[in-house]
Amino acid sequence: MSFDLNFIGILIGAIMASSVPLILAASGELITERSGVLNLGVEGMMIIGAISGFALMVVTDNLFLAVIGSMLSGLIISLIFGLLTQSLLTNHVATGLALTIFGIGMSAMIGKNFVGIPGKEFPLLFLNLKESIPFLGPIFFGHSIILYFAFVLPFLTNYFLKKTKTGLIIRAVGDSPTSASNQGINVTLVRYSCILYGGAMCGLAGAYLSLIYTPQWIENMTGGRGWIALALVVFATWSPIKVLIGALIFGGITILQLHMQAVGLRIPVQLLSALPYIMTIIVLVVISRDSRKIKLNTPTSLGQIFYKEK
């Protein structure tokens, strides 16, 4: 392996790019779960976002509209989940699973007409700085605006949950919907908002895949990333910063193991392929060992249906 500094910079840049969809989807799902709602439909919302973004890009030829549209479509599909779980009080787990199956099927159906159309170049920022500064250039510059957003988002989410009143309300609703309701908080409204926000972020994560990362529409192109994002939220014990760390480790080892193969290191390839999953879990479990903090962060009413007493 060549160990020049610039190469390592390029590598880190590639790792950051690969972790973006995980960060976006997991940050969205984190807010949803913090309000006590378990939405297993992340994969479905992501794939819907991916096809909507791509389809809009083809039809309108406008990337801005495509990105906004993908978020809207993620929002709309999560609204279905909201209606079912919050208004019709269906089981969160079953509804979320159904949402994923629905999303995959639906996206394949819409996507039939968009298969085989090459994508459009998404503008990357500060390309000249990327070339001119060794090592730091490829790390900090030459990315899409969505990547920068994704890397700021966990910090914003952390601040929002910990320091703002709205964040406090969301946590209260997630921990004890009954007490929150008795305080005059509209639990259903809060949960609806959190579900919609999660949907929009998953839609954006999907659009990142179909517009920037592999700019084309391919059936099932999310490839299980939604499930990984879901797992990240749990293993990061509902902490936005740890979600970011987990996503970077996962993306990092995925990319590194490919490089190790290309260099011809004599490590069993099957082990290398499993490494991202194993390492991410180990690291997150280790850094989240403080049981007091786990208790503090875990939304106690997660996945439970809330009946408002009349």
């Binding site: 190469f7 297993l40 199956i101 394949a108 999310t222 004599r266």
Partner: protein, 354 residues
Amino acid sequence: MYKLFLRSLISVLFLLGFGLNANAEFKVGFVYVGPTGDHGWTYQHHEGRNAVEALGIKTTYVESVPEGADAERVIRQLAQSGHDLIFTTSFGYMDPTNKVAKDFPNVKFEHATGYKREHSNVSTYSARFYEGRTLLGHMAGKMTKTNTIGYIASFPIPEVIRGINAMTLAAQKVNPNIKTKIVWVFTWYDPGKESEAAQALIDQGADIIMQHTDSTAPVQVAEKAGVWSFGQASDMQRFAPKSILTSIIDDWAPYYVERSIAARDGTWKQQDTWHGLKEGMVAMAPYNSAMGGDLIKEVEQLQKDLASGKAHSFTGPIYDQKGNILVAEGAVADDGMLAGMNVYVKGVEGDIPQ
């Protein structure tokens, strides 16, 4: 959990869809490993199915069927629901196909790229993709500046290893300094993973990207990075117009038509088909003019020679990685050796995953 749901959903749909009209007219079933929209492997099989359908023969297909337990269920359901001929179009369907064939002696089975014909109603068929790989190797050896060829491999099976070897031998012939770097992704189809693999190879200095996976993601990464690439299974030119030098095209349609008609008319017999450039089961997409006229002429000549039998992809002397002789000077590898190929030839780096 999610898989379980999907499986039960598929089973229910099957029972509803086909259970009712069993034993009616002549029907052909197809089992695909990827989605019909992959624009690679499955897409080409689907084109073959379309050709059969165009004859007025009824066909059914099931796409994205994982290799393994699910496959047997799907094949069995197709057999149970009155299909007379079933094409199973991926290597991993080999054992399930033979297992189901035993229980349905009146149904004919055609398994792609496998070698097991345990019952008289199972035929196997494949294409000599390696002939195409030889052409790719020739072009790669001539076009590379870094002498590094990046190869995205799926699973360590003879078909994939054969392709790596054929390509490397041909590239060495025109450029003794080339190195083949291989990344195993352990999937036939995962655009995200395939593009990460392509990017890793490019970052490691490869200026030629080749794939034995089914999506168009690697050629798009190559296009963006400004390196050369080759399309797989289908003409992928429009996904990477500057980067693609050519694509290996699998043309299953004539075979599917021939076998479907034979099965319908009762003349179907068990056989093992292995067709290549000569019969047209392997074809090459138009060559990229960026290669220059001279190289294109060379490659076209080599293509003719491979088709006529004047040239062979595995002509001796061929050595394995340790330097043991595999094929003697002047001899060519026989089909038995090709079908079971499980060692790298000299010049390929790394080990085959076990």
